[in-house]
Amino acid sequence: MNVAAKDIAKGQNILEIDGISLSFGGVKAIRDVSFDVKKGEIRAIIGPNGAGKTSMLNVINGFYHPQEGTINYKGAKRHDMRPYVAATQGIARTFQNVALFAGMSTLDNIMSGRMLKMKVSLPWHFIRFGPAEREELEHRERVEHIIDFLEIQAIRRTPVGRLPYGLQKRVELGRALAMEPELLLLDEPMAGMNLEEKEDMSRYILDVNDQFGTTIALIEHDMGVVMDLSDRVLVLDYGEKIADGTPDEIKNNQNVIDAYLGVAH
């Protein structure tokens, strides 16, 4: 962590969110929220249910288009993102409710994360011999490293629909990692997990951050995990930013304490 903290201090912002507002049919989901994510850090977004956390991630990877504000990602300022652009620009994502391709095996799911890195054109795929197969096998090897990293060798050929929830989350992380993202968005990566699974997932997240230097923005409800993992924490409540700072600062922030006490938890 020490090393990582040092890097962040001198690192520049990979993402700057400026004055974002988002509404759905008159319901304001996000109101004028600004924050930044520094290269190489683990950034947590917390807040009570309905605080607009997932909407924020959806804005970042282009699934929602905010009415106001700008998104500055890697120095390019935009009013909104597009999912495909986000993908090509190195933003990967996991979902709260697991959005895997249920009919495909673990291996194929993770392979699908390599989609953008695979370049061989369609005609070669008809005959498969040659470039298409070579590319396929090269990427298979890379994917195997991810499988190895996440220790899911035993479920390589299992259709993901048959896997227990905790493993599905892991496969989804694998698919995101296969994109070799610069910014990884994790939406409640530990929801519904038992203690042991949470510990494993925390370790993977830290290892991803350490080994590949991936910047991570994550939403999580388990405060213990958030405080342990993250370098900085953003707190949303009713779509507004109520606090932003290091875990220690957040712990003692009165606004945060009020927000959490005000909600039945």
Binding site: T88, A99, F101, A102, G103, S112, M115, L137
Partner: protein, 358 residues
């Protein structure tokens, strides 16, 4: 029971990703191919070749086409009959415009016209999904049917409105038209179907197939990992239509010898759809089994009273035929909604797990 997989380990990804990684499966496929290429030609009479083998193969090809779209890319189409027609009429036009070029080249080229039409009518898939899309594809079906009947240029202003196949030769052997033997046509159809099945299996096993399945299983997630929905869906429509188009060309040139609008009507679309669903969506082998089942069943039903010595009028037989086919389809959907391919797969797994239960 037959499987002895112990000791079949893979030391590289190429063998690990092979179509048939298990040795016994490889043998099985070789046996089937040998049967089709070497045994069938010598043992099956003209009736079998003409009424069962050739149409089953042709419909299998069309079913594979639809299966690529429906089973892999998750886009429903009720327009397969129309796309087959595009293939058939393009091939017909090609033979009249370029009579000297080999008919096999025409057949394979005609698929491209179907692919272009497929792309055009696939565009709505960007906006609408599921049944809405299915209905939208009916637009292509009815428009194409109308075109085949109303645009005289397509059938060379033939007064009968039908297209007829003339005799074409290759290496001095008649391969189309009234002089071509069933055996020749059978072998040509078989070869084309085998090659195109191989192509289909290459596609679904690689990046393209994964992109399709990703779109099928969860299009939002597919978009977020960098799959362009437009491209993926239209590719699926194009390739699916290519297969249907070639099947249509084969149907006219290698089987029927002549065709009119009715050969490509909506009932054919449903027929192919049944083959895919009964055979098993998302399974190439299922397409063959579905085609064989749906095609052979009525033939069998028609022959049954004669064989059993029951005397019923032809009309009544036809009525019962409808009822039995309809009833069997419902029965089949209830018993195994995932199709024959699923039964096949379970059977295979049972054999692999033998003597343990699966």
């Amino acid at each position: 029971m037959f499987y002895r997989e112990a000791g079949q380990f893979k030391t590289n990804y190429r063998t690990d990703q092979a179509v048939f990684p298990i040795f016994q499966d490889k043998i099985g496929v070789l046996v089937i191919l040998a049967f089709l290429f070497l045994v069938v030609p010598f043992w099956f009479n003209d009736f079998w070749l003409n009424s069962i083998m050739i149409p089953t193969l042709i419909f299998s090809l069309a079913a594979i086409g639809l299966n690529l779209l429906l089973g892999y890319a998750g886009q429903i189409s009720l327009g397969t009959g129309g796309f087959m027609g595009v293939g058939a009429y393009s091939c017909y036009k090609l033979t009249t415009i370029f009579p000297d070029i080999n008919i096999l080249v025409h057949i394979l080229l005609s698929g491209f016209f179907a692919a272009i039409v497929g792309i055009l009518f696939g565009i709505p898939s960007l906006r609408i999904k599921g049944f809405y899309l299915a209905i939208a594809t009916l637009a292509s079906q009815f428009f194409l049917e109308w075109s085949f009947g109303r645009i005289g240029w397509l059938y060379n202003y033939n007064p009968s409105g039908a297209i007829e196949v003339s005799t074409k030769r290759m290496f001095g052997i008649a391969i189309t038209g009234p002089h071509a033997t069933s055996l020749t046509r059978y072998l040509i159809v078989l070869s084309i179907v085998v090659v195109l099945t191989w192509v289909a299996s290459n596609l679904v096993r690689g990046r393209i197939g994964r992109a399709w399945m990703a779109v099928r299983d969860m299009d939002i997630a597919a978009e977020l990992i960098g799959i362009r929905l437009l491209q993926a869906k239209l590719t699926a429509f194009a390739i699916s239509s290519y297969f249907a188009g070639v099947a249509g060309a084969l149907m006219v040139f290698m089987w029927l010898g002549a065709a009119e609008v009715e050969s490509f009507d909506i009932n054919h679309s449903f027929l192919i759809l049944f083959m895919v669903v009964i055979g098993g969506t998302g399974s190439l082998i299922g397409s063959f089994m579905g085609a064989a089942f749906i095609w052979v069943l009525p033939i069998f039903l028609r022959a049954a009273p004669r064989v059993l010595g029951v005397d019923i009028s032809a009309a009544t037989v036809e009525h019962f035929n409808f009822m039995i086919v309809g009833g069997l389809i419902i029965f089949f959907l209830i018993v195994e909604p995932n199709g024959i391919a699923r039964l096949w797969q379970i059977g295979k797994e049972k054999l692999r797990r033998w003597p343990f239960p699966y």
